[in-house]
Subunit: 113 residues, 2 copies
């Protein structure tokens, strides 16, 4: 048991020391240190969370909201700092998904039978 949590802390340390995480931190700080990018990134996050929450609650998403989200995504794609941050987030998420898939394999196998 303790072994399991020790291994989890090893992974945490390895993530913290990984190139992927260090680049993500740098990228995040670049965005946060630029007022325009910071504001746009926060708008993007808020929009995403808002739409997800509505979807989870089964609240209908209006045409205006879809259009608003589309415009923010477009602005985000044109902002190099944020695009780079999102790319770095995705890379780290892939890594974490790989790890999760390994860890939850016993459960997956059990339910697949």
């Amino acid at each position: 048991m303790s072994n399991m949590y020790d291994s989890a802390y090893d992974i945490e340390k390895a993530i913290r020391n990984s190139v992927e995480f260090k680049e993500l931190v740098e990228s995040y700080q670049s965005v946060m240190n630029n007022n325009e990018s910071k504001q746009l990134f926060e708008d993007f996050r808020d929009t995403q969370i808002n739409l997800q929450e509505k979807q989870m609650q089964g609240v209908e998403i209006t045409q205006e909201e879809i259009e608003g989200a589309r415009q923010i995504v477009e602005k985000v794609q044109q902002n190099e700092m944020i695009s780079s941050l999102i790319e770095k987030e995705q890379r780290l998420n892939l890594m974490i998904n790989d790890i999760s898939r390994i860890i939850t394999k016993p459960l997956e196998e059990l339910y697949d039978n």
Copy 2:
């Protein structure tokens, strides 16, 4: 990097060898070896998945569906084999959530600042 995946495989092995996982497997097999419990458990799972999917897609859930789900939950609660299985699933999920929380701590800290 390789270190990270080695640790993930260590956790996988530790989960597989844990009392919690072994009890879950036993519990699952007991349910699967009993026709009535197996059918009820599958109905319960299908209902859950169906409602979750509707919620994700923003499709309205009818009063009848809510009532149907309530009745299945009631039957499940009265079925000792399935109640025990659900309890064992929850115990294992707590363990996996603890591990996930440790692993994703670097990300959480980054975004909390």
